[in-house]
Amino acid sequence: MLEIRELTRRFGEHTAVDRVSFEVPAGLMTGFVGGNGAGKTTTMRMVMGVLGIDEGEVRWRDQPITRLDRRSFGYMPEERGLYPKQPILDQLVYVAQLKGMGRVEARTRVQELLERFGLGERGKDHLEKLSLGNQQRVQIIASVLPKPAALVLDEPFSGLDPAAVDSMVDLLREHTRDGVPVLFSSHQLDLVERLCDRLVVLAHGRRVAAGTVTELRDAGVPRFRLVLGGDAGWVRNERGLDVLDLDGPTALVEVREVGAEQHLVAEATRRGDVHEFVRVRPALSEIYREATA
């Protein structure tokens, strides 16, 4: 498990990351969301040790993280790029060697991964000759070399077509299946909601929410929608409830006092037909918008 504790980074007067704490559990995909300038990239760079930490610490398997630990991590920086004018096979082997792999072993593994992404024939091509999507694939290959102990990916899906996203997700899932923790940042909430086991929301350098998608959606004040046979105007007079919206027979309420929704249902059935009574969970985008507002 990768653990981020009270991480803080200042640039002059500006505090880019302010006492941010969260966990990236083994075998789970943790999504890292937040607007531009929220501090995601700064946090990830601190986790990878390419940016100094002002306060707080990063822990790996219950110990303070070391350079050797980080060396075993896979990392994909924000504005990507390997060497534009070097053959992709050569530079991937180079990256693998820097991470401690032997030359022969590295070649085999790189070739294997290139083939898997349909780039087996293009090892001798310069990176800049590849389409953007293929460059992205090369980038992801670079981050999973050799076999990463953890993955830290900054916007790995930006610029990918849906098919590429799927093949990348498959690759990531293989790693989580082996117990590798994956942290990735993204703007694309729908994607995060679909892929992530867990979610950390950052706004203005602070962590504003964290948990599984269900936890987050359940975390707010419970809301219910009530659809009656007749007019729902009477709901306004019920205790312990805030009426958010009222439209003829339909009412959307927020529960202020525990148990108030039970009284509401009882009262509704006493008064007539109840067509619908359902818990309403906010969409992730809604939570995100509220959290980062």
Partner: protein, 393 residues
């Protein structure tokens, strides 16, 4: 998987990549081949210039044929690049016609008991000089015989010998020329490889691959690998140029200087090595301060100025200034080899200068490493030296 052994050779991997990616680069190869072709061409041209003989035609009317024949026979002994061919002409009118028709280069004829050489213009300097010498010897010999003496007797005691306390002029000229070549090669290599190093640093910074590398190995290793790789390349290229130059020189009349040049050339390489390492670290810093290739112009200005100072200092300094500069790094890297070439340097002087230069290189490596490490991961615009020095990591 990750052992101390792996970390130790991280710099070696970087060095390897620098060298391999460069020597497989077409523009680098073409540049090197062109430079070698230039050196060969220059030496070939010099040799041809030196070996070439002038052929001149000398016209003579019957009364001057004997004298003209003597000139033609003796000319190669007077000037080893001159060959004179005799053309016999019938009379003065024929001689003038031949001159105007460019059939002869000059016309030798007696005038009022003296001799006259007539030509269209003064182009035939070597022919004129040779004719003067030969005619004078001939006439002198005749006159001497008339008074019952010999030329040797008349000239006895009139020669002025020469002796040079500071070596002869030709050696000094060769030392000056080779000194220029040394200074130029240093300047050229340091600028080309320095620029290359700086732009490869920017390439890594701009593409953020440096973050991937930084997460895998200490940045010190990255810097060491890049500096060593480029130094090795510069040195190899320089060795090729020097070897081609020295071997080429053996085909010219200057071949007697080759053994004498080998020693200074070896010193030059040693000074180049220390000087280049020092400058390479600074070039790497210049690269790391920039965020985009466009910034390099600005961040490398102090360095290009330094290089110009070294270039012109190396060429123009003499006397006491030269002696002082030959100990001051990094200028000593070009000035001391030049002094060694000129001769008159005590054995300890190059060693002391090299020691100082090496110490300077160590200092720039230390300072450079700190600046490079701190500036490299800062993004968004140019980084000032002060920012880089005091930045938190």
């Amino acid at each position: 998987m990750s052992t101390a052994h792996d970390r130790e050779r991280a710099w070696l991997l970087v060095t390897r990549r620098e060298v391999v990616s460069r020597i497989t680069d077409k523009s680098f190869l073409i540049g090197t081949v062109l430079m070698v072709a230039m050196i060969v061409g220059f030496i070939g041209f010099t040799a041809w210039q030196e070996e070439r003989t002038d052929e001149a035609t000398l016209g003579a009317t019957p009364e001057a044929v004997a004298m003209a024949q003597a000139v033609a026979d003796a000319a190669p002994q007077v000037d080893d690049k001159l060959e004179v061919r005799l053309v016999e002409l019938d009379d003065d009118a024929a001689a003038r016609a031949a001159l105007e028709a460019d059939e002869v280069d000059a016309w030798l004829h007696p005038v009022d008991g003296d001799w006259q050489l007539t030509s269209e213009s003064s182009e035939q300097d070597s022919l004129t000089a040779a004719t003067r010498v030969v005619v004078r010897q001939q006439v002198l010999a005749d006159n001497a015989a008339r008074v019952g003496s010999t030329v040797e007797e008349l000239e006895a005691g009139s020669t002025v010998g020469t002796e040079f306390l500071r070596g002869d002029a030709e050696r000094a000229a060769v030392a000056e020329a080779v000194g220029f070549v040394f200074v130029f090669l240093f300047y050229f290599a340091a600028l080309v490889f320095g620029m290359q190093l700086a732009s490869s640093v920017i390439e890594e910074k701009q593409s953020r691959i440096v973050e991937i590398i930084a997460a895998a190995i200490p940045l010190r290793h990255l810097l060491a690998g890049k500096v060593l790789g480029n130094t090795a390349l510069a040195l190899i290229q320089l060795l090729v140029y020097l070897a081609v130059g020295l071997v080429g020189l053996t085909f010219t009349p200057y071949k007697s200087y080759v053994p004498a040049l080998s020693g200074p050339a070896a010193w030059f390489l040693a000074f180049f090595l220390a000087g280049f390492v020092a400058l390479a670290c600074l070039w790497a810093v210049a690269g790391s301060l920039a965020s985009r290739t466009e910034d390099l112009q600005a961040t490398s200005t102090p360095l290009t100025m330094l290089m110009l100072v070294m270039f012109f200092g190396g060429l123009s300094l003499d006397g006491r200034g030269q002696v002082i500069a030959s100990f001051v790094p990094p200028v000593s890297a070009v000035v001391m080899p030049k002094r060694i070439l000129a001769g008159g340097v005590d054995w300890w002087e190059p060693l002391a200068a090299l020691g100082l230069l090496a110490a300077f290189a160590l200092a720039t490596v230390w300072v450079g490493e700190r600046l490079y490490r701190r500036a490299l991961l800062q993004t968004g615009g140019r980084v000032s030296l002060r920012q880089a020095w005091s930045a938190a990591e």
